[in-house]
Symmetry: none
């Protein structure tokens, strides 16, 4: 759906919408015919809501596409994730709460190993620890390039964030990662004329890194990917006419909410925390993105039973959302993370939309197979959920006369 069209139709109303995202909710059975994590979990509260809701499964980006966290959330926020792409550098900055400003250019860096000829031997420098990473960044902190400030931050293990801050910088710079071992790191090249100056600054930076890391092992060089800048996307509150709050404990999700213009409310890491923040902020916003992280981590660890247990835990918090008397509630995941794959996957994600005006279907249980029979269908594009939430919140004008 075109955001311009939605913006034209959006109208004010005294209604509140909750988007409850259980990260990595979707799953898969360990054996053919078995239950998924969600199906195996006892979820009396989610099931009760399902019986009064429109149910289905959504596809975060497109059929067969396994999404990263960025695109997966953008779809749920109503932004077509293929049209609105976030660069790796910006995502890395969001992920560690780095406050990108104006024209800042961010890139994701890897420490790597090069041999005597300068050919890349290991693109991840033996997966050094985060502590080692911190120690190496200390060696680099007095690097200066004329015309820009340099910021370096640990991301995790061998990954770090590089930010250049200055006037007239551009993201139009090619990656230096050759993507295969046995090759020299690429020279940073301008992808378009406006990238010339920034490419030159990056080259100056890399030159100094090479000499400062020369005696280190295995991390004696860096590779840079995903040069990118903050976007000037249409902002969520303006497009949808909603005072919007993003409630999350992990920086990545707070960063994504901030990127589209939501106000960000930090939650602690306990599962109860985002629900407490929601209750406290209830009077101040029309839209609440509530992010609950841990089932995704259990899925990524391949821990089916832990994921089941976490889903059962979150089920107990669902009544607290409904006690606030919301007008529309969407419960879903951003993507699937089946413990069986121990990774994000392309599988459609269970979703239900509750409102007084939704025409409930006959699904009585919140689970992958039950939701196949629901009114949202088995493969709803995630990006269509938000317009439907607005409709159910009586926040869209009629289209045409």
């Amino acid at each position: 759906m075109d955001l311009d069209l939605i913006k034209k139709l959006a109208k004010p109303a005294d209604t509140k919408i909750v988007l409850l995202v259980l990260d990595g909710l979707g799953g898969a059975p360990l054996e053919k015919g078995g239950a998924t994590e969600l199906e195996a979990a006892e979820t009396p509260n989610l099931d009760e809501i399902a019986a009064q809701s429109l149910c289905g499964l959504h596809e975060p980006v497109a059929t067969g596409i396994t999404p990263g966290s960025g695109p997966a959330h953008l779809g749920l926020f109503g932004y077509d994730p293929i049209k609105y792409q976030v660069g790796r550098g910006v995502l890395a900055a969001l992920g560690i709460d780095f406050d990108l400003r104006g024209d800042d250019v961010a890139a994701r860096g890897n420490f790597c190993t090069v041999d005597d000829q300068g050919l890349v031997q290991d693109r991840r420098a033996g997966r050094i620890s985060s502590d080692k990473n911190q120690e190496l960044l200390r060696l680099l902190r007095d690097i200066e390039v004329e015309g820009a400030q340099v910021f370096l931050r640990v991301v995790k293990e061998y990954r770090f964030l590089l930010v250049l801050r200055g006037e007239n910088l551009s993201e139009a710079v090619g990656e230096t990662d050759p993507l295969e071992v046995g090759y020299r790191p690429r020279e940073p090249k301008a992808l378009r004329p406006e990238g010339e100056r920034t490419a030159h600054l990056v080259a100056k930076f890399v030159e100094q890194v090479r000499s400062k890391l020369a005696d280190q092992h295995p991390a004696n060089m860096v590779l840079l990917r995903g040069f990118s800048q903050r976007t000037d996307w249409p902002q969520f509150p303006e497009v949808f006419g909603l005072r919007a709050a993003g409630i999350a404990s992990y920086p990545m999700y707070r960063g994504l909410a901030k990127l589209v213009g939501m106000e960000v409310l930090k939650a602690g890491e306990n599962m109860a925390d985002p629900f407490g923040v929601l209750e406290g902020a209830w009077g101040d916003y029309d839209f609440f993105f509530v992010h609950v992280k841990p089932m995704d981590s259990a899925g990524e660890d391949g821990d089916f039973d832990r994921k089941v247990r976490l889903i059962e835990e979150v089920d107990a918090f669902v009544p607290r959302v409904f006690k606030l008397d919301p007008d529309v509630v969407i419960v879903t995941g951003d993507h699937s993370t089946p413990a069986k794959l121990a990774y994000h996957s392309w599988h459609p994600v269970p979703v239900m939309l509750w409102s007084r005006h939704c025409r409930a279907d006959e699904v009585k249980r919140f689970g992958e197979r039950a939701c196949l029979q629901g009114g949202l269908g088995p493969r709803m594009p995630a990006v269509e959920l938000l317009p439907l939430a607005l409709a159910n919140a009586m926040r869209l004008e009629k289209f045409g006369a």
Copy 2:
């Protein structure tokens, strides 16, 4: 679907298609878990057809979008309603059977109330009656603007139609309605250079209106919206290769049929009338759009029981369609009008497609929840129905070799 592609594939055949539109058919339960209007109705004939048909629900424009009658019908006619938008002025003309020609520019007018300073106090002039409207238009009928004929017609209550007829007129004129009270009506401005002359004519018109209505109260000024001209859209008979008839009693629906190039056959206001016209014209056309209005009005009145009764009434006429031995019959609504909301809504609309060649699903009952399990799915874009009807009528060539 691209109309050019359909046009290329369309081939002649000796088959007939009926599109039976029960206006505002889709509904919603009054209470969670209850029946919709269609589900509450006893519809033995529709149910019998459903058991032999492909069933499902369609979305007239897009997920979450509540359509006006214009877009809702255009989708059923195979025209993407977001791409093919009809201006308010043209729709108003269609709605009162005004015969727009050539470059005629139509606008929808409101009588309004302005104060001593000329600031709008009431955009609808206290919702004056249609009779009062007629009386006021009589005061305006000797207005002349050089270079164009002026036509003024009552639409309803405070709403009227303005049409300018002349050479080289353009719809590129901005609205004069400030959309909020406390502001002066806007000057009619050209939106593009070709609108300069028409904007000037409109300004001359408004100037005379102001002086002629000066002593009237509450309707002492007018606001104009939706300047628009007839379109040169691809025409239905050429695109789809069908001799097409539109059978309707209300002018709006006849107008929409005419807009896409169908021949229009006027039906009376009894529910039996369109079916009689259909029988009479059976030999002369390949495609019949048959419009049955009253369930929409019952929905808009919030009268659940009357809507149920009207659906039961129309059910009795369905066998008359099948006695004609059609090749393809689609039964659906243009949009939902749940009595509970007393307004058009975004809810998907039950639809069934009957033909000898359709691969019937297992749906045995024509109703919102039953249709969720049908072969057309729970959220089929309305615009895809017509190509499917053509296919079932053996009227589309194979695509590619």
